[in-house]
């Protein structure tokens, strides 16, 4: 059996697990090394090192009442719990706890789709419901609604939304936390809470109107440790009549200024409804030494880059997105977009796919870019190891957020390319992704390994990326569990006033510190070292 959490004797730990067994049954408390190893972070940047975060056990309830009872027992023993929904968000820490020794509260068995209203275009689900589950339910019941899936799609709706993940379809749906409407939470005391209109048991609008009355507190339960979310409502997208996926390319490096400005304008005026990716077919090329030299130089000139682009025969930038709706509306939108983009010399337009809905199973299988049509997939894993690159075990996502401006996109990749080069690594692919209408998220893959030497370099690279980008005003929107204290530390206005408020709330709501200690840098008082 793994070691007990710090502060608990082996006897106390055994007694706590016995109490858990009385609640959920013996089969659903996992205490052997073999079982607990399943909760290890498969992409851990600390794999095999002393500081790697490990669970001490896991407990898998099937009902809200069981969650409440488990939380109450945790309070009795001051036992740290770490709730997970499906625990598959590997690039952000997976199912391993933020605080070693925590007992994983595995909510995968709570996998009921409680309600789908085709008329209201909403659903209410439990934490174990995956994108696969909800997609399958909609298809099997011929419900003409779309999910907005994370990519890869093996995760759960609630876990992804609470970590503020994103998807690819319509503006109202792809910010997964923003697309939720109403939640049920087990507070750290074991008390049950419903937010928004759900605070009134007779309300018919729990999944339709977010705010209810009084302060709107749902945000407190995202990227935090103030409770265990046991239900969440979501808005679903009505299946469109048709969709057209398009690609717009521009030839020169400096064309990205106009390209991004126009894309941003078209998103804000609702002409472009979908997530839009602005990527560079030139900068995301092979491991050609000249490309690596340019990427790691810290700022090669437009002329040098354009010469290189000509030599490889590729346009410098590509913007790709999808138009959804009635076919004749799509045709007019596309005409308008081409008119707006026509001011860029050398711009080219391509229709890469067109669909009418519903799709048959065979047609859905054949869609190459499934997430853009609400179809969960595992396609991203096909690129885990790029040709010619050193095999790695996985990667961390480093995801700085910038203004949607071409000059900022170039400056970011000049900076991060040089940092990767300084650490002896090939720079990550370059792209700005507009999950949100008014910002770009620029994902970077930072490789992780299964040896300490390479991982030490990975961690140093990651920390340098975080701090260097923060100095430029490019903060991350989300971060792997190991780096969450670092991530919060750069949000330092007025001597980290925001973080201090988080901990003030933690002390009030979870005085015994039993829920997700350390998550997003929020530690309970007894683990902060300032309560002596």
């Amino acid at each position: 059996m793994p070691n007990p959490p710090t502060g608990l004797s082996e006897r106390q730990f055994r007694n706590a697990l016995t109490r858990f067994e009385e609640i959920v049954g013996r089969d659903w408390v996992f205490r052997t090394d073999e079982d607990v190893a399943l909760y290890r972070d498969a992409y851990s940047p600390l794999w095999g090192e002393e500081e790697e975060r490990h669970a001490s056990a896991a407990v898998a309830p099937i009902s809200v009442e069981e969650v409440q009872d488990i939380v109450r027992v945790a309070n009795d023993f001051r036992l740290p719990l770490y709730p997970i929904s499906t625990g598959r968000n590997l690039t952000y820490g997976g199912s391993a706890p933020a605080y070693s020794g925590s007992v994983v509260l595995d909510l995968k068995r709570m996998n009921r789709i409680l309600e789908v209203s085709e008329r209201d275009k909403t659903c209410l689900v439990e934490p174990g419901v995956s994108y696969f589950d909800l997609y399958r339910h909609l298809r099997q019941n011929n419900i003409r609604l779309w999910i907005d899936t994370a990519d890869p799609g093996w995760g759960g709706l609630i876990g992804n939304a609470l970590d503020r993940g994103g998807g690819y379809t319509g503006t109202d749906f792809r910010d997964h936390f923003d697309a939720h409407c109403g939640m049920e939470v087990v507070l750290p005391t074991g008390e049950l809470l419903r937010t928004g209109m759900g605070a009134n048991e007779q309300a018919t609008t729990w999944q339709l109107f977010k705010y209810g009355m009084g302060p709107w507190i749902d945000g407190m339960f995202s990227q935090s440790n103030f409770g265990v979310v046991t239900k969440m409502g979501f808005w679903l997208m009505e299946e469109p009549q048709a969709a057209k996926q398009v690609s717009i390319t521009v030839p020169r490096r400096e064309d990205v200024f106009a390209l991004v400005d126009i894309v941003h304008s078209l998103i804000c005026d609702h002409t472009i409804p979908s997530q839009t990716t602005v990527a560079s077919p030139v900068m995301n090329g092979s491991t050609d030494p000249e490309l690596v030299r340019l990427r790691t130089s810290g700022g090669s000139s437009d002329a040098d880059w354009n010469d290189y682009a000509q030599s490889v025969g590729r346009p410098f930038w590509n913007a790709s997105f999808v138009l959804y709706g009635a076919q004749k509306v799509i045709d007019m939108q596309w005409e308008h977009i081409r008119d707006r983009m026509g001011v860029i010399p050398g711009v080219q337009f391509r229709e890469t796919a067109s669909y009418t809905f519903p799709l048959s199973d065979e047609e859905a299988e054949a869609v190459p870019d499934k997430a853009r049509y609400g179809i969960p997939s595992l396609n991203l894993f096909g690129s885990r190891n790029a040709p010619g690159q050193q095999p790695s075990e996985g990667h961390l996502d480093f995801s700085p957020m910038i203004r949607p401006r071409g000059e900022e996109l170039i400056a970011l990749y000049d900076l991060t390319g040089k940092i990767y080069g300084d650490f002896g690594l090939t720079p990550s692919a370059a792209m700005g992704m507009m999950f949100h209408a008014r910002t770009m998220i620029c994902f970077h893959a930072v490789p992780t390994f299964r040896n300490a030497e390479d991982n030490q370099r990975t961690r140093a690279l990651f920390e340098t990326l975080v701090t260097s980008c923060a100095e430029q005003g490019w903060n991350i929107y989300r971060i792997h569990a190991h780096f969450q204290s670092l991530g919060m530390s750069v949000f330092d206005f007025n001597d980290n006033a925001l973080h201090r408020l988080h901990e003030t709330l933690k002390d009030s709501i979870d005085p015994r510190g039993v829920i997700s200690a350390g998550r997003y840098g929020i530690w309970p008082r007894h683990l902060r070292g300032d309560d002596a």
Binding site: A42, R384, N385
Partner: protein, 152 residues
């Protein structure tokens, strides 16, 4: 959802998967049902299809992305009965299926590179394939493998 321990204890009756490469078949215990999954893009897929057809009628094909195959076929089957899965896929696909299938009590039992006879048997530790031991810089390199209910 099936009780995980019940699943592992469940009845084991008919031997299948005799069509796997030498070295894999010897370690395959009898199970009550089995399926094969084949990435039709990989070199050797036709040969592996021929071999697996000798063992099971439940062969499923996909092209690179096993997501819909998992969602529509494999996971529903695993929810009803324990099953052994043989595969001919890239390493990233194996990683995905291994990760998903472990919630149903399946572990990686054997793996080999290509359709050849070189077999690596994984010890059950972290439950995850140690990718460093394989030439995985090219995701086009095929692996032959078996995921099987963990014996208790």
């Amino acid at each position: 959802m099936l009780n995980r321990r019940e699943l592992l204890r469940n009845g084991i009756t008919v031997s299948v998967l005799n069509g796997l490469p030498i070295g894999i078949t010897h370690s395959v215990p009898p199970v009550c049902s089995a399926a094969g999954v084949i990435d039709r893009r990989l070199t050797g897929a036709i040969e592996m299809t021929r071999r697996l057809r000798q063992s099971t009628d439940h062969l499923h094909f996909f092209s690179g992305d096993p997501g819909l195959l998992w969602m529509n076929t494999i996971e529903p089957a695993l929810r009803t009965e324990p099953m052994k899965i043989a595969g001919f896929t890239s390493a990233p696909t194996l990683f995905c299926l291994q990760y998903l299938a472990r919630d149903y009590g399946l572990i990686l039992e054997t793996q080999a590179i290509g359709v050849g006879d070189s077999v690596v048997t994984n010890e059950w530790q972290s439950g995850l394939l140690d990718l460093r031991d394989l030439p995985l810089s090219d995701p086009g390199i095929p692996l032959t493998w078996v995921l099987a209910p963990k014996r208790v």
